[in-house]
């Protein structure tokens, strides 16, 4: 734990050394996610609704997805850039250090420019909450925090697929990104707007619905499932379970690791 906080502190410090460059990159991310927000707004102006969801609800889902994804990329940089790590043979150094391997990987890098995307996501959530005249309660706040944590674990787990593949194939394969970036694009909208195949994929295989859509729908007062409130606190645990599973698989991958040399 001490290692983690120390690492995070040092990484933020080092990022702050190039303040102008960092600021430009944060703005770039802000513009990118802002472009997606613009796109969603354009669609909602034209169509007014998606399935049984109104514009404000969709905006809320969009914001939760964008800010969660941004946070995952911010703190999970070590995982998302892991294939390069292996390619350069830098993983060897970590194996030698007497600290938990995965913790070292996760906190080897940060990506503070994602704050730009995070900001856009938060703006979307707050705007949508105001439009919905959402009454915030402690319970809803807690549930939303759990949603963010559960979804971050799920996304990190999905990124770990690529990290694990990199043990076996040094050349990174674009295809394995389908569930992460594809998940972000698809699951900006609640899964029930999609037909069966995608719904099953994003409910049971990569459980975005359980981690995000179901509990969020309860927060905005239009539950997708007929579940008691306490049950919505349980479903985001699917993200933690997915993450735990991927950690196991990743460690199996570690045993097959062969250095690329330095």
């Amino acid at each position: 734990m001490k290692y983690m906080t120390h690492a995070v502190k040092m990484l933020f410090k080092s990022a702050m050394q190039y303040r102008a460059s960092l600021l430009m990159q944060v703005i770039a991310q802000f513009v990118m996610t802002g472009g997606e927000l613009l796109a969603v707004t354009v669609l909602l102006t034209r169509f007014k609704a998606v399935g049984h969801w109104g514009a404000a609800e969709i905006l809320f889902f969009f914001g939760v997805m964008q800010s969660t994804f941004a946070l995952t990329e911010l703190f999970g940089r070590g995982i998302t850039s892991f294939p390069w790590f292996v390619q350069r043979g830098e993983f060897d150094a970590l194996i030698l250090r007497p600290r938990p391997l995965l913790v070292q990987v996760m906190f080897s890098q940060l990506d503070p420019r994602r704050l730009g995307s995070f900001l856009v996501g938060m703006i979307a959530v707050l705007t949508a909450a105001a439009q919905l005249e959402l009454q915030w309660t402690l319970l809803k706040g807690l549930l939303l925090a759990e949603v963010v944590l559960g979804s971050m674990l799920l996304l990190t787990g999905l990124f770990m697929i690529e990290a694990t593949v990199s043990f076996f194939s040094v050349k990174s394969i674009e295809m394995v990104n389908v569930l992460t970036y594809g998940g972000r694009t698809a699951c900006q909208y609640p899964v029930d707007v999609y037909p069966g195949v995608l719904r099953v994929l994003f409910t049971y295989v990569a459980p975005f619905a359980m981690c995000m859509h179901w509990p969020v729908s309860a927060v905005i007062g239009q539950p997708m499932m007929a579940l008691p409130m306490w049950a919505y606190f349980l479903t985001p645990l699917a993200g933690a379970a997915f993450f735990a599973l991927m950690v196991r698989i990743w460690y199996i991958g570690v045993r097959h690791y062969r250095s690329t040399g330095t």
């Binding site: 770039a28 990118m32 594809g182 694009t185 909208y189």
Partner: protein, 271 residues
């Protein structure tokens, strides 16, 4: 200068075009990997628009589906960069580049056009093959006739040149900052939205359509797609192509002068 000498003076540009194109054909595995991604994204968008249209105006839904597929098919043309120029500058290899007796700006634009066109063509064939195994309601629509297809093809070629002129401006910015993640990233990402990749430009509010279809980002792929969907009558066709050409001239002028300034102040790093 007689015809022969003129042709000979164009040879380096044609060669770099061909070399870059050949290089692109070497990445067949990458092309196939990209296929899965593009098909997946295409399907997600199509399911989304099917939900958005909710059974209303099936004609417009068909057009939107076609638009989405064409965007995904030519994704590689729109978004590809091998970062070679920045590498050259960072490694000092730029010194070799500068001693070549060619017009540097034209050389790099030709190189870019070659890479993008051939990269797109290689991905086009498997993407078209995928269409045959898709159920009818998810499939790309046919062009509005042979003339429409011809208009699309020609406009796409002009659009690709226009895009590369635009990208040369980004290159000039990169030459200065040596960091792709700042200014040039902003432009690149703006392009995603305003070239029609995130959502079809045809879905922007009707009042803004004139503005949206004549801005530079729309020239590469949006303009051709509109011709694919409905064959343009002669005056409209002439206007669209004229706008594309005008943007080429403007962007080339900006790109050239920026390149000139950068090359005059180039610092060669290392040796």
């Amino acid at each position: 200068m007689n015809m022969n000498a003129r042709l000979r003076s164009l040879r380096p540009y044609m060669t770099v075009f061909r070399l870059r194109a050949l290089m692109e054909t070497q990445y067949r595995a990458a092309a196939l990997g990209g296929l899965v991604t593009q098909v997946f994204f295409g399907l997600v968008y199509i399911f989304l628009y099917t939900a958005l249209y909710a059974g209303n105006s099936p004609e417009m839904l068909r057009d939107t589906i076609t638009y989405v597929w064409l965007q995904q098919m030519f994704f590689r043309m729109m978004f590809s960069s091998d970062g070679e120029l920045t590498n050259l500058i960072m490694s000092g290899g730029v010194a070799y580049m500068l001693v070549r007796p060619v017009d540097q700006h034209r050389f790099w634009v030709c190189r870019d056009v070659g890479g993008r066109l051939v990269g797109a063509m290689m991905r086009l064939i498997p993407m078209l093959a995928v269409q045959f195994i898709l159920p009818r309601e998810l499939r790309i629509g046919l062009p509005d006739g042979w003339l429409s297809l011809a208009q699309f093809g020609l406009s796409l070629l002009i659009g690709c040149v226009c895009l590369c002129e635009l990208m040369s401006i980004l290159d000039a910015i990169n030459m200065k900052t040596l960091d792709k993640r700042g200014v040039s990233a902003i432009l690149n990402l703006t392009m995603m939205t305003f070239s029609g990749n995130v959502i079809p430009l045809t879905l922007f509010p009707d009042g803004l359509q004139t503005l949206i279809r004549y801005q530079p980002f729309a020239q590469a792929l949006d303009a051709p797609i509109r011709m694919y969907q409905s064959c343009a009558a002669l005056p409209e066709w002439a206007l669209t192509v004229a706008v594309q050409l005008v943007w080429i001239v403007i962007l080339r002028w900006i790109g050239r002068s920026m390149w000139q300034r950068r090359l005059d102040n180039m610092t060669v790093q290392g040796g």
